[in-house]
């Protein structure tokens, strides 16, 4: 449908909308909305990380297949575990040309950092593009560590000086790290970096001891023999990592996923929301996107959009509040 849309003469669109609204028409006119200026695609994490790669791939696919009459410009706002991006979107209330690519800090950051005054349940849900997974990674040179047991032993032996890299206090990986601290009864030093790519680089350069990166962030280093995964926090083994056991198989009940979704600011117009839902549906179903999902260990089975995604967000917010309570907000912030 969006293909049809962009063929409509740009000059005609405002006129059609104006005419439609003045006549009190709604449903048929809705589909006539299309972007009138460049669309900002805000990434709540640094360049080179999982969300960044996704945003840039989506931008490219939109341009390549001419799905939007106006360009899409990805902008990284990684500050304060995504707080910078969330606040930016909140302040853009009512704007139809700003979108946010999320990670789970979308749920956690507003809970942990009440000071930023953001309520994501007001944001306009567009579409969920994928479910991302987590694995535990160490450097290949750590020959003593071959599995989860030897990892836990090594962390304990290090006392309180084991360094875990992550993308920010309160980000999903810090929650997973706190969950592991609680489960195995050890304490680590958590060092935040501005994005999953930088975390990966610091693991390869041995400035940190371990990390819970997403597959996309470590794949190339794994293939090059720099790093190795020890365990995956999924229900079943990912096709990309058939030899790596899940935590469940090892008797540890720990499963954690991350949604990758697109959301608009609070109060985005229904017409724009509709247009974006269709745009990202087209992208979700594209061959390129599905191929990317398989290669990068993402699950892209169903496209959840609009109100349905809003409900999903509500469930996830509740789940994350529970998780944060269970491990204690102070365990995450390290205070």
């Amino acid at each position: 449908m969006s293909n049809v849309l962009h063929r409509v003469k740009k000059t005609a669109i405002p006129a059609v909308i104006a005419a439609a609204t003045s006549l009190g028409m709604s449903a048929p006119a809705m589909a006539e909305w299309s972007p009138k200026k460049p669309i900002e695609l805000i990434i709540m994490a640094g360049a080179g990380g999982g969300a960044d790669q996704i945003a840039r791939l989506l931008q490219g696919l939109i341009e390549k297949n001419k799905l939007s009459p106006r360009p899409v410009i990805p902008i990284n706002k990684a500050g304060g575990s995504g707080a910078e991006a969330l606040r930016y979107i909140q302040d853009k209330a009512g704007d139809d040309h700003t979108l946010l690519v999320t990670l789970n800090s979308f749920y956690t950051t507003p809970v942990i950092q009440e000071g930023i005054g953001v309520d994501v349940s007001n944001f306009t849900p567009i579409g969920r593009m994928a479910i991302d997974n987590f694995l535990l990674w160490v450097h290949q040179d750590m020959t003593d560590i071959t599995d989860l047991d030897s990892y836990v032993a090594a962390v304990k032996a290090a006392g309180n000086s084991w360094k875990v890299g992550g993308t920010g206090t309160g980000q999903e990986d810090s929650i997973l790290t706190a969950m592991m601290e609680k489960e195995f009864g050890y304490d680590v030093i958590y060092i935040p970096f501005p994005g999953g790519g930088t975390v990966a680089k610091n693991l390869v350069g041995k400035h940190i001891d371990s990390t819970v990166n997403n597959p996309a962030e470590q794949n190339e280093f794994f293939r090059a023999g720099n790093t190795k995964p020890l365990v995956q926090f999924t229900a079943e083994r990912l096709p990309a990592y058939p030899d790596v056991p899940t935590a469940k198989e090892l008797g540890v009940n720990m499963e954690y996923y991350m949604q990758r979704s697109i959301n608009g600011p609070p109060g985005m117009s229904a017409e724009a929301q509709e247009w974006y839902i269709n745009l990202f549906k087209t992208l979700f179903e594209s061959e390129e996107w599905q191929k990317f999902c398989v290669e990068d260990g993402l699950a892209c089975d169903t496209y959840v959009s609009g109100a349905e995604l809003g409900t999903y967000h509500q469930q996830q917010i509740a789940l994350h509040k529970e998780l944060i309570e269970a491990v204690g907000a102070s365990a995450i912030t390290g205070e």
Binding site: R56, Q59, L61, K66, D91, S161, V204
Partner: protein, 503 residues
């Protein structure tokens, strides 16, 4: 070595293919225009032009994007020199001496120096890239938070000497910059700091370009208006071939600092955390520190234009390295290049060099050609750019004002930044009247966040032990050089004094 030459020959011949060659020329020319527009910058430019790349094969597309990036690096210098407005953050250091040169009627000199230095910087860095990419990629990995912080310290040290003899005023200026850099959300805990009673706009921090455009664009305009009472002498700059050859002869006077700036720029560019803006500022600081005549910097020294221009082009080549080998873009523009690569199924990482050699070497080959093309295009356009300076100041001043407002508004599209930019303009004017150097404040606001993050990461990992900065060899060397740089102007001053009393 033979293998490298073979690859390079392949890459060069690939870059010389008609389509690729055309993409280079087109990219350089477009980049030049994009870079010259204040506030547009290469990020937006590359993003807007991304669709064109889908019409051609992946290697040509990346070559095109790289050429735009390259051209924009130089384009930033044009508005820095002719209008005194930094077209992009990477060109801020170019204003320091470029603008005074233009005001003295030597815009052609400054523009030629910028073009030649960009060419030298680009060429030295691409040669370094060709010869040492894999070992340097390994070296870049050795840079953890502690090393990054020590490098930032080194950058600050190069600037202590920047304020001339008045070291206390320089330190004051650096501190003001650091405070401004701290505004916004805490980079580690995400708590709001210094947001002035919850003014929303401050939560996003202070955009560095807003400060630079305010201080240099508006501040300079006010200063010129006051000092001349509107009676600005219009310089008739004539650009002839003999004049050009004359200008090219200046190369001798800045070749040393330019080469130093190129190597430094390339190296800083390869570190994922830094990028071209810190590189250009550091190169400027170094050029001044090691100059025979440091007092002439900031008043129109050609070397002060050449050093940062060489460094920012070198850094833009350098930042290709972490993008290709680590998948970490060294700048927002390389992030867009990275996006392009992902779309074409080229996964950046340690294996890209071996698995897709024709792509990597095609890119490297194109950088050689792009360098040369930019030089030629630049020099050809200089007569056109200097024409800007023949416009009467009474007409030029309002144009500068409008461009500043547009440049302040464009990055975040909020009026908050426009007000802030105007405020910085007035403050910049006052600082100048009171004889405070502003360049160190500009440096501090760029490097402040980088330094703060790496300092806190280092101290987290060392559990508060400051010794982490001296026990790690690379970090220790950086600290040592930093201490040396702080002491160097003092030693020189002391020597000068003893020399005077002896004679």
């Amino acid at each position: 070595m033979e293998e490298i030459l073979l690859h390079l020959a392949g890459g060069l011949s690939q870059a010389m293919e008609p389509l690729n060659f055309m993409m280079i020329i087109l990219g350089c020319a477009l980049g030049l225009l994009i870079g010259a527009m204040p506030g547009l910058g290469s990020v937006n430019g590359v993003a807007i032009l991304l669709p064109i790349t889908f019409l051609v094969p992946p290697t040509s597309a990346i070559i095109f994007l790289a050429a735009i990036y390259y051209g924009a690096m130089y384009g930033g210098a044009i508005s820095s020199i002719t209008l005194g407005i930094p077209g992009a953050s990477t060109a801020v250091a170019t204003v320091f001496d470029g603008r005074p040169l233009a005001q003295a009627g030597h815009a052609d000199k400054a523009l030629t120096a910028a073009a030649v230095a960009s060419f030298i910087g680009g060429t030295i860095s691409v040669i370094l890239f060709t010869l040492f990419a894999p070992p340097l990629a390994t070296f870049a990995l050795k840079f953890g938070p502690a090393e990054e912080f020590s490098l930032m310290l080194l950058a600050f040290a190069t600037f202590i000497g920047l304020g001339g003899d008045d070291i206390p005023k320089t330190i004051f200026s650096i501190l003001v910059g650091l405070v401004l850099a701290a505004v916004g959300l805490d980079i580690i805990s995400g708590q709001p700091r210094l947001v002035f009673g919850d003014i929303d706009g401050f939560l996003h921090g202070i955009n560095f370009l807003v400060l630079a455009i305010g201080i240099y664009g508006i501040g300079e305009m006010l200063w010129t208006l006051e000092s001349t009472q509107g009676e600005v002498v219009v310089h008739k700059v004539k650009m002839s071939l003999s004049q050009l050859i004359e200008n090219l002869k200046d190369v001798k006077s800045y070749i040393a600092t330019t080469s130093l700036g190129s190597v430094l720029g390339y190296f800083v560019g390869t570190l994922p955390a830094a990028g071209a803006t810190p590189a250009s500022l550091m190169a400027y600081g170094l050029a001044k520190t090691f100059s025979k005549d440091p007092d002439s910097f900031g008043k129109g020294n050609v070397a002060g234009v050449a050093a940062p221009e060489a460094a920012n082009n070198a850094a833009s080549t350098g930042s290709m390295l972490p993008m290709i080998t680590l998948g970490i873009p060294g700048s927002p523009t390389t992030a867009i290049l990275l996006g392009g690569m992902i779309i074409w199924g080229l996964r950046p990482g340690p294996l890209l060099f071996t698995e897709n050699p024709e792509f990597v070497w095609g890119l490297i080959g194109s950088l050689y050609i792009a360098n040369f093309a930019t030089l030629v295009i630049n020099i050809a356009f200089i007569p056109l750019f200097v024409k800007v300076l023949t416009i009467p100041f009474t007409i030029l001043a309002p144009i500068i004002y409008i461009l500043c407002v547009v440049g302040g508004y464009a990055p975040t599209q909020t009026m908050h930044d426009v007000w802030l930019m105007l405020l910085f303009g007035v403050v910049g004017y006052l600082l100048r009247k009171l004889n405070y150097p502003v360049a160190p404040a500009v440096l501090a606001i760029v490097l402040g966040p980088l330094a703060e993050r790496s300092l806190r990461q280092s101290l987290l990992s060392s559990q508060g032990e400051l010794s982490i900065f001296v026990t790690r060899p690379i970090s220790a060397v950086c600290i040592l050089i930093a201490v040396g740089l702080v002491c160097y102007p003092l030693v020189r001053k002391f020597k000068k004094k003893t020399g005077e009393t002896a004679s």
